[in-house]
């Protein structure tokens, strides 16, 4: 049995007297995709932001198996270390591509930024990698010098994914990656994500309210309600045989066409 890549122990975040999320624990193994579902306000985004270091949790441990230093608690890392981690081994895909892209910088510059941030100083190499990655996310090479403002919503989202994956991260956080896209574009994006995740052996944590997304992408599933995890298990198991009343409600609420 391999060691978990990412372990979360009793993480909690409070907004004053209110609970953001509490008592969350799980292990994520290399190459595994974990889905987190729940209704609006259930604490899934709070949890994701705590895990990715955007928010400081009030309690608990977040352990990551780093490449060089072994298992480290990211909460005890210094800020430069944590920021370095989030530029190299981690990636964060925002729901709105505009939050994750630099809109005034060309597509190639967006993809190259992470490379330059970790010290790439040859223009030709950076450009070649940008072209390679645009190809992988199905953006035509001729669009490399266009700004993201000239891209459609689906293309922006794919560009954001390319920009995040270019440094070969091992753990990707995704916050509603398909939110705000129409269904056919959603389907293509999901297809792309699935093949990238398999190809690169990525581990991922995907927050969404769309059960179809987790059915397609996630190996395991956590269901959150009011800040607590109410049910967790293999995706198919949870969706086909929901135990908790809320999960049953969630599964039965999906519209059938």
């Amino acid at each position: 049995m391999t060691n978990p890549l990412f372990s979360v122990r009793d993480v909690a975040k409070y907004y004053g007297g209110r609970i953001g999320c509490a008592d969350v624990s799980f292990d994520l193994y290399p190459g595994e995709v974990m889905g987190i579902v729940g209704e609006s306000g259930s604490g899934k985004s709070t949890l994701l932001n705590c895990l990715a270091g955007h928010l400081t949790p009030d309690a608990g441990q977040i352990l990551f198996d780093t490449r060089t230093g072994g298992v480290r608690d990211t909460r005890e890392m210094s800020e430069p270390e944590r920021r370095m981690l989030s530029r190299t081994d981690w990636a964060f895909v925002h729901q709105h591509a505009r939050d994750g892209l630099r809109m005034s910088v060309s597509a190639g510059g967006n993809v190259g930024e992470r490379l330059m941030a970790v010290g790439a100083r040859r223009y030709d190499t950076i450009r070649a990698q940008a072209i390679d990655w645009l190809g992988r996310v199905e953006i035509d090479e001729s669009r490399i010098d266009d700004r993201p403002t000239a891209f459609s919503g689906g293309m922006q989202q794919r560009l954001q994914i390319a920009r995040n994956l270019v440094t070969g991260p091992r753990l990707v956080f995704m916050d509603e990656p398909t939110g705000g896209l129409d269904v056919s574009v959603q389907a293509r994006l999901l297809d792309l994500l699935r093949s990238l995740v398999r190809e690169m052996g990525l581990s991922a944590i995907i927050v969404t309210h769309d059960l179809a997304v987790v059915r397609l992408l996630a190996d395991r599933l956590m269901v959150m309600k009011s800040g607590y995890v109410v049910e967790a298990g293999l995706t198919d198991q949870v969706l086909d045989d929901p135990q908790h009343a809320y999960t049953q409600l969630l599964v039965s609420s999906v519209l059938q066409v």
Binding site: V105, M116, I144
Partner: protein, 288 residues
């Protein structure tokens, strides 16, 4: 002598500015915040440079002001008169005679000495400003030495223009640590930032002072396959024939006629006095 305190500012203010300057010298390239004062001129005319000059001047100093290389433009004349009036110091147009030189957009062609001070007027001290608008974030980036974004700007230049098109305010790395905006000097002047004189930068509206001590390493950022190139117009000066100076292009008629002249007026006049002649020098003089 006038009724003003020496060099306009009161002694406590000058003391405060000197403390900021000392801190800036101690941490080359770091932007030190200071309590910038209202000066009797609009922002953008050199309020930061004037405050730094006021804090540096002593009664024995000789003062020179450069505006785009010239000594005789409005900005240069006004600031020179201002200190002539409020400090009673000697003024000069000759680079070699000055002990304090306030400049806007140029470094003099004549190499400066250890006993001279060069004061720059800076409009925007933050080199990352137009890439990352949040000041809280840029300060953090400076603190953590996260300068990848600066290269994104250069990347954009190459992808759009085929070369690094940034021609002024070209970002530099000081002593291997802080990335700094050298104020809007042409990139032709960047190699001269490693000099014997002390260089002080004052931004009045932005309330920042920074410095480069003498003989400090200053490296212009670039890519390995697109190295830094301190370019200039490919002409000799039409008045003094110099081929190694930064030139201004002047339109002289409506038929496409133009001439190139040294932007450093004092240096050009000095060369002409030494007998150097250019393409458009008066003929009878050239015949002598």
């Amino acid at each position: 002598m006038s009724d003003y305190n020496f060099a306009y500012l009161d002694e406590q203010t000058k003391r405060m500015i000197r403390r900021a300057i000392l801190k800036g010298v101690a941490i080359p390239g770091y932007q030190v915040p200071f309590a910038s004062r209202e000066m009797p001129m609009p922002y953008g005319w050199g309020t930061g440079g004037v405050q730094v000059s006021a804090a540096c001047l002593t009664p024995e100093d000789t003062f020179k002001v450069i505006d785009q290389g010239a000594d005789d433009t409005t900005n240069a004349v006004s600031i020179r008169k201002f200190f002539e009036f409020t400090a009673g110091v000697a003024v000069t147009e000759h680079t070699g005679e000055a002990t304090v030189i306030q400049t806007r957009h140029r470094i003099p062609e004549e190499p400066l000495r250890e006993d001279q001070i060069l004061v720059y007027q800076v409009p925007i001290p933050e080199p990352l400003r137009f890439l990352e608008p949040r000041e809280t974030e840029t300060r953090k980036m400076h603190a953590l030495e996260e300068y990848g974004l600066m290269h994104v700007k250069l990347y954009e230049d190459i992808s759009r223009h085929g070369n690094i098109a940034t021609s002024y305010a070209y970002p530099v790395k000081v002593e291997g640590r802080y990335v700094m905006d050298p104020s809007p000097i042409p990139k032709f002047d960047n190699p001269k930032l490693e000099m014997a004189a002390i260089q002080l930068f004052g931004a009045g509206r932005e309330q920042r002072i920074y410095a480069i001590p003498p003989y400090t390493q200053v490296i212009s950022l670039d890519f390995e396959d697109y190295p830094f190139d301190p370019s200039k117009a490919d002409h000799p000066c039409d008045l003094c024939g110099a081929e190694h100076t930064y030139l201004d292009e002047v339109i002289i008629d409506d038929a496409g006629g133009r001439m190139f002249v040294c932007s450093d007026t004092d240096y050009c006049a000095g060369r002409q006095a030494d007998g150097h002649r250019g393409r458009l020098s008066p003929i009878q003089e050239a015949a002598e």
